[in-house]
Symmetry: C2
Amino acid sequence: MYTKALLTDLYQLTMMQGLFFEGKHEQQCVFDRYYRTNPFQGGYTVVAGLEHLIDYVHNIHFSEDDLAYLKSTGFFQDEFLEYLKDLRFTGDIYAMPEGTVAFPQEVLLRVQTKKDEALLLETCMSMIMNHESLIATKARRVRTVAGKDNLMEFGLRRAQGKSAGVYGARSAMIGGFNGTSNVLAGAKFGMPVLGTMAHSWIMSFSSELEAFRAYARQYPNNLILLADTYNTLKQGVPDAITIFKEMKAAGTLPKAYGIRLDSGDLAYLSKEAHKMFAEAGFPDAIIAASNDLDENLISELKAQGCVINSWGVGTNLITAKDSPSLGGVFKLVGQYDDGKFVPKIKMSDNVEKISNPGLKNVLRIYDKETGKMKADIIILEGESIDESKDLLLQSDKAPWRSRTIPGGTYRVQKMLIPIFQKGELVYQKPDLKEIMAYADQQIQTLWPEYLRLVNPEEMWVQRSTKLSALRDKVLKEESAHFF
Amino acid sequence: MYTKALLTDLYQLTMMQGLFFEGKHEQQCVFDRYYRTNPFQGGYTVVAGLEHLIDYVHNIHFSEDDLAYLKSTGFFQDEFLEYLKDLRFTGDIYAMPEGTVAFPQEVLLRVQTKKDEALLLETCMSMIMNHESLIATKARRVRTVAGKDNLMEFGLRRAQGKSAGVYGARSAMIGGFNGTSNVLAGAKFGMPVLGTMAHSWIMSFSSELEAFRAYARQYPNNLILLADTYNTLKQGVPDAITIFKEMKAAGTLPKAYGIRLDSGDLAYLSKEAHKMFAEAGFPDAIIAASNDLDENLISELKAQGCVINSWGVGTNLITAKDSPSLGGVFKLVGQYDDGKFVPKIKMSDNVEKISNPGLKNVLRIYDKETGKMKADIIILEGESIDESKDLLLQSDKAPWRSRTIPGGTYRVQKMLIPIFQKGELVYQKPDLKEIMAYADQQIQTLWPEYLRLVNPEEMWVQRSTKLSALRDKVLKEESAHFF
């Protein structure tokens, strides 16, 4: 049986072996995970994937089959394979909890460990966090426009594989969805599963009315009838009204009942259907909609006065269609040479791409009165801010835009918390409900300007003075390489 | 342990139970899988995913845990769960083999079985085929512009989950790639795995030259040096030349050696680097490139005279970034009512969306002399074409564009072949190498006009006269529902 230890790029393993034979594999080092641009041209990212990551890191080891395969490739020597046999994660990981809103350049996760362990984890760790944060962010955008409507994740059949479907469904919940059609995700993560019928159900009966009647017979309490198989307004809605009347007469009409529209103009059809339901005495019939929805279309449909209070979102969510990858990176920011910590940066001709060196954390500044977030400050681990004193915000990107927050009006929160220490899991994993509540609360800390779908306000993120000074120093040293 | 039987939408299971209690679950029916639009605005799709699908269908069953979970949802009754316990796939599946080029509206896969089994399979089957065909198609587009260059799949860290990475890497091979960095995919499918070093290797040594020297010491036969950490032309290429000279002097320079560029202007840098290598006596040094590549960028770089003969393609391939889902659908096209086969169509206000009814196959017409494909004809199963007779091509979409192919100049191939019969696997699964050879050969049957990245020629796909007649008849009967 192959394990996830092989779920990596070959070069991580060849570098590990190279360092092993060069005697450098056990060098302690620090890697940061961060990203450079918000996905979907939005104002934030919702962190997700930590639970999955913990599971991966906690269990990582090479099986006999893994090692036999590696040997068969011809790249690896027995001495190194023997070493891999007992390799486990022995280091520290600090991370922002799932549901946290985050911003470009911030440290989302920090790994301090032997270099070969960091290399081993990089690819899969990046993949998990990139994927799940991306989908949680997309889902949160949908939630932002959907208000208190019901949101259902329907994307499995168009997902990029099983894990995309299953972990995507979980990420959608962190982004504020109410449930999923994905049964395996429901089972695995204890999430609500939802769904009623497809067109093939309707086509299995001699008429739509018969199909509805049979469905009402089988599921009197899960009564969302698919109303667009033949003609929504001429047939689907009248057939649904017939069923609702029959059930009302029999005293079996459930509290929640309604229809689903899966084609046609959802604004027009929902308004007309609602009118017909209201006239027939069913003004509270749910109108659910699906069909290529995303946050932009839902926002427009609402602007056009649609009467829809339940949305099934599929392909565009589960593939993050308009921005299907999050460019999170994992960079070496420091290592111990002869016991001394040496901060590192990755140079680049593109100044924006130069990383922040050193062992860092992120301090978040909240306004005490409103509870809203004011700024994030990337600091060197150990730096603190005295909440009673005035705080000068001044970024080196635009130093003239400085502002002062009066002492006593703000509170400070440290965003990276310990997950693993010396290889031991020290983090008490919250359950999904707790994560969802925290994610909702995190979003509440942002003014609506930061949540706008298009051209949102940019969150204030700056380096501390100490970090800026360190960065300048390392930059100067590293540029010696160029001459 | 949960199984893939739960990897489905809840409504499939609620419909199955509904049909069960309505006594309709064992009705024999036929479902077609097809898609309506080529992805990437291209001219074709490469079929992939069949091996994965076979594995899924072959093993599908509900475990005790699956059933306990379903019970816990409150949607399901014991009698039905008892029935699920012994449910296995008992029907027939016909499909186009992996590597086949296919076109919109064509039947790619046909399932004939009990209705509840078809419902059970729909979601996961669609997901597998949608995902893997999408990536194979994207990869083929890259191969089309890359000529005989080496193509490496590098996308794992940005993949949408583990399966996206692993099955995506396999699909890339079907699309014509040479290998992957994904070790687990290599192990699982016996594919070549590739890779050398990342920037963190360079940064683990006191200088780039030391890092190169250490690498050459460890991997004298896998010598692609990452040359852009500090400054490609002022340092990376000169350092590489130093190493190549040292190895040449020591007689250890391998046959294949070179550098990789991962940033900067790849056209300019590769031309300059090639010049420097040539002047130093290494004109055959490989120049590999990576960094946000796709078929469009590679095509442009080639037009600008880049000297790159090995490409690492990551994010844009593994997520199919510009078109991250294939809209394959699965529609009921017929069922047996009282032992009589009744063809079905899904009506739609959008005429293009109306499906083709009945039990069908696809006949492909090849020109005998050139071996090139001339047309596909969607037929009713059992129809045949006499190759000695003239063949009139006339689509009902544009009947005035008819043309005649003289008898004796063409050959006919049936495209859907049996995979399962009565639940038994009857298909001899080819290995990946055979699939890749077939996929290459399939692409050879298309004139370059059909392979163009942008605005390609549209393949001639038509219904047979008999199928057209049946469609008209069913359409007329179904429209009775509307009045």
